[in-house]
């Protein structure tokens, strides 16, 4: 049954790119109000709650969590993403706090890079809602694994800013005693299995953590964050197939920031949406607005629920955007023709921090002043972390051979 759903009360401009990506039609009525319309085929009219949620929060731009998952089964049954969870004020404010921590952390890194204090790193700015929304749906006992653009994931999972910053400074008080650096933050004590500099390389690892959960009859899940570029790696496809065959409690969270360094996913991905690939692995594929932390939370919470119930993996594609260059130090890439400044500007209008703040304020959950205080606190924490990192010593020579093996045996 085709159902046309309208969202009323849109304010401000809506990016043509956005409407194109989500196949949302925007039109104005005779009173000049903006409407968005999209048609879905529903088997579950409960899906309408998505849109009710949008209306309640008076979201300025429709939170498109639609286009939603398809589970191809022999019966042809489809399941859809639904928006049913009530999010507490505490959780919303926690998400805001963690997003601000990531944002300030990376703005500070940019400042320190410009001052020559740290080397080039890959910034997550613009994508914060993905990690934070997803991790808000996880427990401390759940595991995550990240990628090369991965300051955001550990911070979203609850990592210590001081230890993260010290690691990027290459200091002994860093998470990895200075042996990993920006691309290898890890904190096993809160389920952060580590980031990977090799694109897609952490996908099988997260799958294996989920295998352990299943073999031991535990209820923890694992989630892996990877990019649109990684989605073309064999490791990704092999892991999704393996996880589906064995019904493993793993969430494959593809952060489609649309460019692998300079190459658009539209030039490298053979399907319209990366989430469409879930069909090939007989798991739900969900396309989520990755700028929207609440949508990310909702999508992830449902995937977690499936995973904990033994129903297997889910592929979540979070459509998002990298506001900055591929990495600090590669500013010249921006001047090439791989993306237009106007496109960057359009996406900046959908800054995930602005969207979450607006949702919180518009719904009466918190005041603008409360939200500002969250940002200010995060800023102060980051300043403190930077000072801590600066004052931490470099690892001395005695660390060089340590940690190659579990035992301190001579290897040569």
């Amino acid at each position: 049954m085709g159902v046309s759903v309208q969202i009323r009360g849109l304010k401000g401009s809506v990016s043509p790119l956005f409407t194109h990506l989500f196949s949302v039609q925007i039109f104005r009525d005779c009173s000049g109000n903006t409407h968005a319309e999209k048609t879905y085929s529903f088997i579950d009219l409960g899906t309408l709650t998505i849109w009710c949620h949008c209306l309640i929060l008076q979201t300025p731009i429709p939170r498109v969590v639609g286009e939603i998952g398809r589970r191809i089964q022999t019966t042809g049954e489809k399941t859809y993403f639904r928006m049913t969870t009530n999010i507490s004020k505490d959780l919303l404010m926690l998400m805001l706090e963690r997003m601000w921590r990531i944002r300030h952390f990376e703005l500070k890194l940019t400042e320190m890079y410009n001052a020559g204090e740290v080397g080039g790193v890959h910034l997550y700015i613009g994508q914060e809602a993905v990690a934070v929304g997803a991790c808000a749906a996880l427990k401390d006992s759940d595991y995550i694994a990240g990628n090369h653009r991965s300051h955001g994931h550990p911070i979203a999972k609850g990592a210590n800013l001081k230890k993260a910053m010290a690691e990027i400074f290459g200091r002994i008080d860093g998470y990895c005693k200075g042996k990993g650096g920006s691309m290898h933050l890890a904190d096993f004590s809160v389920g952060i299995l580590g980031e990977s500099g090799i694109v897609a390389s952490s996908v099988p690892v997260a799958t294996g953590a989920a295998l352990a959960s299943k073999l031991e009859g535990k209820d923890f899940v694992s989630a892996v964050f990877f990019g649109d570029g990684a989605s073309n790696q064999g490791a990704c496809h092999e892991s999704m197939n393996l996880a589906s065959v064995w019904d493993l409690p793993v969430l494959f969270i593809c952060e489609n920031n649309q460019y692998a360094v300079t190459t658009s996913y539209k030039d490298t991905v053979a399907v319209e949406h990366i989430s469409d690939r879930a069909q090939a692995y007989n798991m739900p594929g969900i396309l989520v607005d990755g700028q929207d932390a609440i949508a990310m939370y909702e999508a992830t919470a449902q995937a977690v629920e499936r995973a904990r119930n033994g129903e297997g993996p889910t592929l979540i594609e979070a459509l998002t955007y990298r506001f900055e260059d591929h990495s600090l130090g590669l500013e010249k890439i921006r001047k090439s023709e791989y993306r237009e400044e106007s496109e960057i500007d359009e996406w900046r209008l959908r800054d995930p921090l602005d969207l979450l703040t607006k949702s919180i304020v518009d719904s009466g959950t918190a005041t603008p002043a409360e939200c500002d205080a969250v940002s200010a606190n995060a800023h102060a924490e980051v300043e403190e972390a930077a000072e801590f990192a600066r004052n931490s010593p470099f690892p001395d020579e005695s660390e060089l051979y340590k940690d190659m093996f579990a035992s301190d045996m001579p290897v040569v």
Binding site: C176, A186, V205, N241, V411
Partner: protein, 322 residues
């Protein structure tokens, strides 16, 4: 003690450890049917839960083993050396490097069992002896049992070890027989070489499938009055260099027999260590008996020319004697 085939000894080691530790499980391609032999009977005893047939996805399941190990399981992965190339990213970027890269946070008790088939007309894609490649990477323990007893004892140690281990199971040895201790507490430590035959004139260090060939060569040389000491290092990482250096100190002559290809072989590393640390003990140039630096040809007339043989070891021993 019971006489067992090398292949059975490997399986005994696995089964004993699986009985002791419920966190140990085995996965790989066709392991339930035990196509390669060593896993025979394991599926009957331990069932689907602990013996997992995988898809043909080496990168996927090599990495899944890393992830399972990282959160407390003790996976054993069965594969062939030749298929390890397919999963190299997970072996190198994750299994080998995670612990160091994360400052010691990751403990990865995973065993990769790499069966080395060669010498049977399988041609270049199925005849790899690749352990030197992994010695070079670091972070991986490299085990090359040369006798059935060591096959069992080293397997058990590998499973109990808290680091990633690659067990290179030499296909030319799988059918060999020897006395194997039945004691479930029997293990063979890593980093302790085995002096298989004591001698005073020449030291022969023999790796994996070279072990019986070296012993045959020593027997032959004894008939000529030459006393050959045969040492099996058993593990290449860690390497028991003391035993080798002590032996060279006694004999003054060294031959290393290694089924791997000659360039940057395990033999190369052993000779380099002896050159650096015991040069003045040497009475003659060291000799390397490794595989020819070619891909493995299919035709038996060519393949038989490639690998170290007893005759080749004898020839090298004689060279050291002048």
């Amino acid at each position: 003690m019971t006489e067992k085939m090398f292949m059975q000894a490997l399986g005994m080691g696995i089964a004993e450890e699986m009985r002791i530790d419920p966190k140990v499980f085995l996965m790989g391609e066709d392991v339930r049917a035990s196509v390669y032999g060593a896993a025979s009977g394991l599926h009957d005893e331990f069932g689907d839960e602990r013996i997992l047939n995988t898809p043909l996805s080496e990168n996927g399941f090599f990495g899944a083993a890393v992830g399972a190990a990282a959160v407390g399981m003790r996976p054993i992965v069965e594969t062939l050396t030749s298929f390890m190339w397919v999963g190299m990213d997970q072996l190198v970027s994750q299994a080998a490097k995670m612990r160091y890269m994360f400052g010691g946070q990751a403990t990865l008790p995973v065993v990769y069992r790499a069966v080395m088939y060669y010498g049977g007309g399988s041609a270049a894609h199925h005849s790899d002896r690749s352990y030197p490649v992994f010695m070079n990477i670091g972070g991986l323990k490299i085990v090359t049992p040369g006798t059935p007893a060591d096959a069992k004892g080293l397997m058990k140690t590998a499973i109990r070890d808290n680091d990633p281990v690659i067990m290179f199971e030499d296909g030319t040895l799988l059918g060999t027989r020897g006395e194997v201790p039945d004691d479930p507490d029997f293990t063979v430590p890593f980093g302790v070489a085995n002096i298989l035959r004591e001698g005073t004139d020449v030291t022969v260090v023999a790796i994996a499938g070279s072990v019986p060939r070296a012993l045959a060569a020593a027997e032959e040389m004894a008939k000529e009055g030459v006393s050959v000491e045969v040492i099996d290092p058993r593990t290449l990482v860690p390497l028991d260099k003391e035993t080798i250096l002590n032996s060279v100190g006694k004999t003054g002559r060294l031959v290393v027999a290694d089924p791997a290809a000659k360039v940057c072989s395990a033999a190369s590393e052993i000779m380099s260590i002896v050159g650096e640390e015991a040069f003045w003990d040497l009475q003659a140039p060291m000799q390397k008996v490794a595989s020819k630096q070619v891909h493995i040809p299919f035709s038996p007339s060519l393949e038989k020319l490639v690998y170290p043989t007893s005759d080749g070891i004898i020839e090298s021993i004689k060279k050291t004697l002048g």
